[in-house]
């Protein structure tokens, strides 16, 4: 019985972790919102993040995160999905034996090394190709592309799992009707696995939102403050060639160095962290719902 109790405590530690996250992040966020300079409404609606000027709108930071995530998904979805289709539908045992380890190594490389890669390879490449006056030293595009590379293995392995879970009777039926391999893949297998594939994409998206090091190193440390209606939408607000700090980037930069407790900077990272936590929680919940739907269809 004592052992059972100990084992239960081990399991309960995970609950304590969640409670700890929600409680601590919530507590510090509350302190942040209780500050005279900050208003809850302003936090969600203002498009300026300038702590020095007393303006705390999370808009610019969300904009940075969003742009990087969208670029990452544009890069990663075609690559990851095509890779998964190839591995599950086409590849022979030997070909798989070559590509699978490559994808696993890509997963294993620490994100800070990807950050180094973004800054020393991707950024100079983009600046060389598009011109140094167009592309800034810190830019969203480079960070987005590298985050995309980072999540390719995630998408491909989850999508491959979904594809190989499709019963082979469906494939055989399609072949028997004279379908080509392309038609079987794209019209039978992929649609059948769609919710599983979508779940993988959502997981990858949540990973991209929470990714820190690449974003901190390559996308710069200044939030892209904007005024809707005044600033040009594509020339400035959504311009991928210039830097824009993301939520995770702000947390990392602010916490780096000696951060004193009970300052507004200290409390602000918790408010942003809490927002980040809920965004990723929502995405993970969505992906589990999708997986459940997929399972119901085939079990």
């Amino acid at each position: 019985m004592a052992i059972r109790g100990f084992l239960f405590v081990c399991g309960a530690i995970s609950i304590a972790t969640t409670v700890g996250i929600v409680y601590e992040l919530g507590k510090e966020s509350l302190l942040f919102f209780r500050d005279d300079e900050v208003a809850l409404l302003e936090f969600f609606t203002d498009t300026f993040w300038q702590p020095q000027a007393g303006r705390f709108g999370i808009g610019p930071l969300i904009l940075g995160t969003l742009m990087i995530t969208v670029i990452a998904m544009i890069v990663a979805v075609p690559i990851g999905l095509a890779a998964a289709i190839y591995l599950s539908e086409y590849a022979s045992r030997r070909v798989r034996g070559f590509f699978k380890p490559v994808l696993e190594v890509l997963v294993g490389i620490p994100t800070v090394v990807y950050g180094f890669f973004a800054l020393t390879f991707m950024t100079p490449l983009l600046r060389g190709a598009l011109g140094g006056n167009v592309v800034g030293f810190f830019n969203v595009l480079s960070a987005g592309i590298v985050v995309g590379i980072l999540i390719v293995p995630l998408i491909s392995s989850l999508a491959e799992d979904a594809l190989s879970a499709v019963p082979s009777s469906l494939r055989q039926a399609a072949y028997a009707l004279g379908a080509s391999k392309f038609e079987v893949s794209m019209r039978v297998v992929v649609p059948a696995a769609l919710s599983g594939i979508a779940a993988g994409m959502v997981v990858a998206m949540s990973r991209a939102v929470g990714e820190t090091m690449v974003v901190t190193l390559a996308a710069g440390a200044s939030p892209r403050n904007f005024a809707l209606g005044q600033d040009s939408l594509f020339g400035y607000i959504l311009n991928p060639f210039q830097g824009a700090q993301a939520m995770t980037g702000y947390i990392a930069i602010t916490a780096n160095g000696d951060l004193s407790y009970n300052t507004i900077d200290y409390n602000s990272i918790f408010a942003i962290g809490l927002t980040l936590f809920f965004i990723t929680l929502g995405l993970n919940y969505l992906s589990r719902r999708l997986v459940k739907r997929f399972r119901q269809a085939y079990q």
Binding site: L7, G20, A82, V102, I109, T111, V152, F182, L217
Partner: protein
Amino acid sequence: MSVAAPERRPSDLFPTEDQYTGHLNWRTRKATWFQLFCLGMLSIAVIALATLLYTIVNDSFGLVAIVNQNQPEAVLADLGYDPETTSLSDLEIDEMVSLLAANVSSGVGRRLEREQRFYEDRLVFESDAVWSEICASSEPPTGCNSAPRGAANVLALVQERVIQPDVIASNQLLPSLVSPEDFEVEVAAGFEAGRFQDYTLDQVQFEWRAWFSPSFLLSPASATPEIAGIRTAILGSLWLVVITVLFAVPVGVGAAIYLVEFAKPSRLNDFIQTNINNLAGVPSIVYGMLGLAVLVRLLEPLTSGDIFTGGASPSDNGRTILSAGITLGLLTLPVVIISSQEALKAVPDSLRQAGMALGATRWQTVRSQILPIAMPGVLTGTILAVARAIGETAPLILVGAASFITVDPSGPFSKFTALPIQIFQWTSFPQEEFRNLAAAASIALLLLLLTLNAAAVIFRNRFSRRVE
């Protein structure tokens, strides 16, 4: 109701031979193109990996343009050695210390001694009276409690303070191999443009430099890129591995055993399971914030070691290896639990029933039957999870890994730095030489991870042989 039959022959409904083959060819072509497209996309992953590794290696080796304030040959000749046969690393520790004493101001010397002393039994720059006074003060410097500097450490100081090499420009591996003369031209052009005003062109030596080298691995951190190393960072990372494993493995495996073997379906147990799945998706930086708020701040007396040492801990706050290790442990926990659960579930039920039929309790069955068989799976999953945690940077930034530390970590309560932090810091510096250091440190980190992964494979093979 009657409809007039269409004025068409049955053969109109079917394609002609030409149409048929044309369409078939088009379908086949489409299939081929699609296959090539998928293969191409998959190849992008390979290209990305190759490019990444190339970038790291490319920046870790190459030509450098270097200016020494004091030539090592001249220094050795002054000491009466033949520069042809002797190098600085052959010097005795006493000779190096006296070299230092002759070349640095007494203020710098005192600072170095307070950081870490040169000899166990005597002082070089400080007087005994002052030393015992500052060591008795409320905030004694690190030199009072740590072991004396070793030969490698003093050699690094001699390099830094006496030779004072200054890399004024560095080149990457590929251009250094293909067209070394271009680099010399570039440096000469830099001189003409007035970029290196402290030196003249004839002071410059061009030499090959491996930034990733044994001395890089063994030297402590330094603000001078020429002599900076990652020993403190490697030791910090190894300490983190130990604490992460000590925390995550017992707790993680325990939780998995509870959920698979003991838990009856109940709302609470379902909640634990869902919660673990949720935690696996929480970004690592959020764990860092949890570590900062709870371990570093709330539990400061515990994590700084104050309650064990009565306030004389090596660090004066909770930003210690212990805090960081437990943070990484919490981060790893969901993955360890999930992979251990998989391993336990893979053990056939017949074994459980056999154990119980023999009169063993549930725990006895688990301990002597189930766990040994599930062990390879548990270990592999655990090591892979720990390997991932060691590469994490964001949580360490949050729990306050110091970016610049030259003293080796002495225990779980000391301040620390770690490899990923070091890479992050060096990458964010503007000077080119730090980029070379970041690349070299990346190689070290990747090798460390490779070792851990290899260990996972070996463990798995070993254990599974013993069981079968």
